[in-house]
């Protein structure tokens, strides 16, 4: 015991010494694990990295609009270390935390990686902000008493709940429903939440067919045949990236979108890439109030412009999530007003802060998990052929997220108790 106290004392002394030495010149280093290789690098890794580069450069230059118009974070410049998330997540996390000694880790898209590093964040007492990853389990079962771990992106639950609500609210025939989802945790969870939501909303739907092609299969001819002949009136898919795009390219010419109402929960990411191939009327989500669904604000306009100026195209939703994570870190750090990770973590808890996608509240997971609303709309090109959405319905955070003390699965199963929709 005494030894430990001595050690702890030494550690804090070192910390103070370090802080004094660093003054304000020493930059803050962030470890940013995003996919730099593999199938997720194009749709996720690239926009996330682009967004991080834009936000960090502009933060350091002090170019952001209020409330982020101060330079850097807490007066210190910010540096980024990009790491390939496709490598061994646990090892690379340790390398960032222990070898590079980064001040915070901001990243991760894969739920598997998020689950693997979550306990480490607490064990190593390393400030960590998870950017994406769909699984709601992070604070439900993996780390139930978090201190240093945060997730500023909403869970995948809202995608499925929102999609089901949108279909019901727009009067789509729900008698026969089908799904095509990738055969891995993400696709299985999305479909389970979606069908659960249908039961909660009492649509009385029959499941016409549930297709689970292998992830990255690329060839969906047989699945599309099955969907076409199933008689489904509504089809749910949580495909993302290249798989989603291949699905659109293969399904649209065969008239699947004309036959059924198709809801694509990550459809927004394909809009810039395949503006002429997505049939008008397809139901599009963006996994939150991002991009085309973002509420008008100075910050949103600034982010769109700055990103487009730097990278030549508007940001897709993963970019918005990265921006949201970095701004959350800045907010918490400056609220704490100190460089002590524990103090920053304390300030991050239950934080409410502005992002390009509106206000984010760290409301569940004991104040470590963000809640946000979600919006869906139908695809529509304007007169110039630019992609856009219409018939948008936005659902408030309280409408699509479970309350703090309930797990997503239990909440859906119980029929959304406590949900408040406008």
């Amino acid at each position: 015991m005494t030894l430990k106290t001595v050690l702890a004392g030494t550690a804090s002394l070192c910390l103070i010494a370090g802080a004094v030495q660093a003054q304000d010149q020493e930059p803050i280093t962030l470890g940013i694990p995003v996919f730099l290789s593999g199938a997720a690098s194009g749709p996720f890794g690239l926009p996330q990295r682009n967004a991080a580069e834009v936000i960090i450069a502009e933060l350091n230059a002090g170019n952001l609009p209020a409330p982020y118009d101060t330079k850097g974070i807490n007066g210190r410049m910010v540096e980024a270390n990009y790491v390939d998330e496709a490598a061994d997540a646990v090892q690379e996390y340790r390398n960032m935390a222990e070898r590079e000694g980064v001040d915070a880790v901001v990243g991760y898209t894969s739920s598997g990686n998020c689950k693997a590093v979550a306990p480490l964040a607490e064990e190593l007492q390393q400030l960590t902000v998870l950017v994406d990853c769909g699984t709601p389990q992070i604070f439900e079962s993996v780390v139930t008493d978090p201190t240093y771990l945060f997730r500023t992106g909403p869970t995948g639950t809202i995608d499925s709940v929102g999609a089901a609500r949108y279909l019901v609210d727009t009067g789509v025939d729900m008698s026969e429903v089908a799904g095509i989802n990738q055969n891995y945790a993400w696709g299985q969870d999305a479909w389970a939440d979606f069908t659960g939501s249908l039961i909660a909303l009492d649509t009385g739907s029959d499941i016409a067919t549930e297709q689970f092609p292998q992830v990255f299969a690329g060839q969906y001819g047989a699945e599309i045949s099955a969907l076409l002949t199933s008689g489904a009136k509504a089809i749910h898919t949580s495909f993302w990236g290249g798989d989603l795009e291949a699905f659109i390219l293969q399904a649209a010419p065969r008239g699947l979108f004309a036959r059924s109402a198709v809801v694509m929960t990550t459809g927004e990411a394909a809009m810039q890439r395949l503006p002429n191939e997505i049939p008008e009327g397809a139901i599009i989500g963006a996994r939150g109030p991002y991009s085309y669904f973002a509420p008008e604000s100075e910050l949103a306009t600034w982010f769109r412009d700055a990103y487009e100026k730097a990278h030549g195209q508007p940001p897709s939703y993963p970019a918005w999530k990265m921006a949201q994570a970095l701004l959350g870190l800045k907010s918490a750090w400056e609220k704490a007003g100190s460089d002590d990770p524990a103090a920053i973590a304390k300030a991050f808890e239950n934080l409410e802060y502005e992002t390009p996608a509106g206000t984010v509240r760290m409301a569940i997971g004991n104040g470590h998990q963000a809640v946000q609303g979600i919006a869906y709309g139908t695809y529509k090109q304007d007169a110039d052929g630019n992609p856009g959405v219409e018939n948008v319905i936005a659902y408030a955070a309280e409408c699509v997220n479970p309350p703090n003390d309930t797990t997503a699965a239990a909440w859906i199963e119980a029929g959304f108790p406590g949900a408040s929709c406008n």
Partner: protein, 313 residues
């Protein structure tokens, strides 16, 4: 004097490995963790190397790595059994049982067909685990902190304990493999590779030897998987994906067949190379890794251990 069969001096190398493991304990924690996972995975590569002595290349050794990992994971996370005294034997036993069953079939196969069938079986397990939503599908699941013969180290000391455990078990695994290679069943593996017909006519069934080596490799790999699971605190089906198995094969070849410690050390070198490649060239680390592989194959066709062996003679 007996380059192929003589393992009487290999104890020396195990002792050297033991020394390195002890030195590793005092290295920075990220490096120590790297050593720890490399040792656990190295045990699997050792299993692959043993089969290679018989001329058989398992492209599905991830199967047992995964079985060991999931055995530990299921017991710890789902059944609440968190003591290593039960977890690791369970990992070894699970791998052994599956290994004995599959060994009956696989011991009939040779060459590329052995490789392909081991691959097929491991990919079937992958498919099953991906379907198992209750086990987290591709996300896998996390494993709670473990106890050591009833002792529960506090959070700060956990990495020390799991490192020590890994070191001890991997060294024991090496010694076990050594005893096996020195036994009749192990000594005759080379004879299986070189001339099965001659071996049968000398009175020993190659198929039985293959069956045994498959089972021994299964146990080592199961232990490796269990240790890896305890170290990383997480298991997922990637453990039995073909690229994972491919890595074990690569390390076994990189190491060569000369010593039981070679695969463990080679795994460490690979991990070191990978982590620095990632650090230096996050966009081209696979290119660096691939080039290093090619270089080893071209320059050292008998593996890295041939350098040590050459230095000895």
């Amino acid at each position: 004097m007996m380059p192929t069969l003589d393992f009487r001096r290999d104890h020396l190398f195990v002792a050297v490995l033991a020394l390195l493991v002890i030195v590793g304990f005092f290295l920075p924690s990220w490096m120590r963790f790297l050593i720890q996972t490399a040792m656990a995975s190295g045990l699997v590569a050792l299993g692959v190397m043993l089969q290679m002595r018989a001329g058989l290349v398992s492209f599905g050794q991830g199967l047992f790595f995964c079985i060991g990992g999931y055995a530990v994971g299921l017991l710890a996370a789902k059944a609440g059994i968190t003591d290593v005294a039960l977890l690791l034997p369970a990992a070894a036993l699970a791998a052994l049982v599956i290994g004995l069953v599959l060994g009956l079939l696989l011991s009939r196969y040779r060459e590329i067909f052995y490789a392909m069938l081991t691959l097929a079986v491991s990919m079937i397990l992958y498919g099953l685990l991906v379907k198992a939503a209750s086990l987290g599908s591709t996300d896998g699941f996390n494993i709670p902190a473990v106890s050591y013969f009833g002792f529960v180290p506090d959070q700060a000391a956990r990495p020390d304990w799991s490192y020590a455990l890994t070191g001890v078990v991997v060294l024991a695994g090496c010694l076990g493999a050594l005893a096996y290679l020195r036994s009749g069943a192990g000594a005759m593996l080379d004879a299986v590779r070189e001339n099965e017909i001659r071996l049968s006519y000398l009175g020993t069934s190659p198929r039985v030897l293959v069956f045994v080596v498959y089972a021994v490799a299964a146990v080592l790999s199961g232990l490796g998987g269990g240790l890896w699971a305890i170290s990383s605190g997480h298991v997922d089906p990637e453990m039995t994906y073909w690229t994972t198995s491919g890595q074990f094969v690569f390390v076994a070849l990189l190491a060569g067949r000369g010593s039981v410690v070679a695969p463990v050390m080679a795994y460490f070198l690979l991990e070191l190379l990978r982590t620095y490649a990632l650090d230096i060239a996050p966009n081209a680390w696979q290119l660096i890794l691939g080039s290093a592989m090619l270089a080893v194959i071209v320059l050292l066709p008998r593996g890295l251990w041939s350098l040590v062996a050459r230095a000895r003679t």
